[in-house]
Amino acid sequence: MEMINCKVNGIAVSVPKGSTILEAARAAGVEIPTLCYMKKINEIGACRICVVEATGARGLVTACVYPASEGMEIKTNTEKVQKARKTTLELMLSTHDKKCLSCSRSTNCELQKLCLEYGVDEGAFEGYKPVYELDESTPHLVRDNNKCILCRRCVAVCKEQFVSVIGANDRGIDTSIGSAFKVKLSETPCISCGQCVAVCPTGALTEKDDTEKVWAALADPTKHVVVQTAPSIRATLGECFGMPIGTNVEGKMVSALRRLGFDKVFDTDFAADLTIVEEANELVERINNGGVLPMITSCSPGWVKFCEFYYPNLIDHLSSCKSPQQMAGAVIKTYYANKMGIDPKDIVSVSVMPCTAKKFEIGRPDQSASGYPDVDIALTTRELAKMIDRAGLKFTMLPDEEFDSPLGEDTGAAVIFGATGGVMEAALRTANDWLTGKDNLDVDFHAVRGTESIKEATVKINGADIKVAVASGATAAQKVMEKIKNGEADWTFIEIMGCPGGCVNGGGQPIQPQYVRDTVDLKAVRAKALYDQDAAMSIRKSHESPVVKALYSEWYDGFGGHKAHHDLHTTYVKRTK
């Protein structure tokens, strides 16, 4: 690779030709502030906060997009640079709703952090500022354009997610981010993935905060409040408390939930195992009875909504299995309620998910096995962290505890649901055993691991070639669906997740500032924690899960039996864009 040599604040550094000043600076250990920049996703040079001085360039240049060159001397902190950045921040603040005290992003806001560093005067500029209505129309997020700094990161990820339901409208000082004809987000084909929330540098996009509902339930002595936690959040929750990315905090998480006052702390993982056996059974049925193939997973509510909006004629490809969250909810309010002698109406079923679309999913029709909603409140990882903070729990100092029985035991197969390819691998483990009729020791299917957006594999099971595909992110999903639509797909089974990288990178996961997102592969590092846990487990196949076994022996009339079908499967709707 051709390298160039330059100096950043006097530090000599050698970087590949074509690197930007920002990349050169990062190589030299110098961080330059950015607001609009997202590596490879939003390289638009719009916010102007990353300006620096560089030899050979006229005036100030934006480090995020300006190429470094041989012999260039870059100065990132001169008086001129600092003054320019400060003015940029002050101008941004002149159109920014500065209600920082109550803002959910306070202390975790990229704008606020810079304002503090640069010692801005909030009132330096005053004048016309457009005023926008809050958009609280969807169950999953709140858009407050009064806090928007027009960095367009949300627009870029929405485009990356194929849907582009939000974009820049109007121009000049009245430019705003919104939907066509400025309708509420609920009237658009938004898939609720929440990627926009995860990348917003300010409080302009936040998940809809449902924590007050949980606090109220916990305070109500007549309610039996049960919580379930998704596979991926044990690998991410620690980030909210300053722990290194990729730390598995399952034990502390359980103890925190218990201390918050939940009556039972269950693991969604048991339902992931349940999903696998139901889904594997459905697949076999489809293959044997000439059903619609390829069959596609339905765990990800963002993906399901995408399919309903953008490929309404292909919804028969979706597995009819409910998602693990909903299966867990169904089991809690039927099997568990029955076992404990609790009226399901008195159960408040809470989930903690990596996902904003889960807030949408709990309100879908045909998701009430007990006659009551399977899940009442879906929180994101971030909301749980907020509750832990409010309760005064010192998370990092909590002891490790274990999930409650009977719905707390899991398998390695369930744990890896949180990463793209995980559901597929879990399914293959079960299929391999079932089809060969053996207890196979080799359970690692490396072909479906990794963070690429589309992976294809041909897996040999019992002498037969099974073609499978794994896609994550809605753009990858779209590519897969086009192939199916055009009759070019020869896969039997496909795993699709709505978010790039799967649940570890879900829209409800802890916010990481953009410089972290640029420099750390969140998807891979978080996924590693899950694969490590899987590798260390004694039970690594869903069909061997003790909970699953108990459920089918005590409660359900066999895989895909009538009762299981009623409680654990659902239907889809054709939506119009």
Partner: protein, 164 residues
């Protein structure tokens, strides 16, 4: 300025839809022709309401938000229909300093509509325009092609009466 969005019911005809479809079919092979299609669509319908933008978005296979983003970026695109008589009041510098703003407000009050709006009966619409180059006659307005200059408040009623 934020572009005003019409709340008038859309009443496009099948003939208009057929024309637009032909335009889309002729251009859909190349998404970069979006603006050209929008320009033709505005020629057909007089403005670009939701229904028209939706047809364009579906036909050109682009998100409707992209169409809307483009339509609100360029001054030429209108999101509101024009009335049978479009009263366009010049708010260029010369006219403005001669009280064009007051004339505008009077029209708005009489017609019960604001800028870029159309009366319920579809008879009148009101727009504020950039300098039309008739600064010597300031303040100036046009009703469709007809020019009225050196306006005073009293002219509002007489002009409206002429088109009732």
């Amino acid at each position: 300025m934020q572009k005003k969005i019409s709340n008038h019911p859309f009443n496009g005809t099948p003939e208009q839809a057929a024309k637009l479809e032909a335009v889309i079919n002729a251009n859909k092979h190349d998404k970069s022709l979006l603006m050209a299609v929008m320009q033709e669509a505005q020629g057909i319908y007089g403005y670009l309401p939701y229904e028209v933008q939706k047809m364009i978005a579906d036909g050109m296979d682009v998100p409707i938000e992209k169409v809307f983003g483009v339509s609100t970026f360029y001054a030429q695109f209108s999101l509101t229909p024009k009335g049978e008589y479009n009263i366009s009041i010049c708010l260029g510098t010369a006219c403005y300093v001669k009280g064009a703003g007051i004339i505008f407000d009077k029209f708005a009050e009489k017609l019960g509509i604001g800028a870029d709006e159309c009366t319920a009966d579809g008879k009148f619409s009101l727009t504020a325009c950039r300098c039309i180059g008739a600064c010597g006659l300031a303040p100036v307005l046009t009703v469709n092609e007809e020019v009225y200059g050196r306006l005073t408040g009293a002219d509002v009623d007489t002009i409206l009466a002429k088109y009732q």
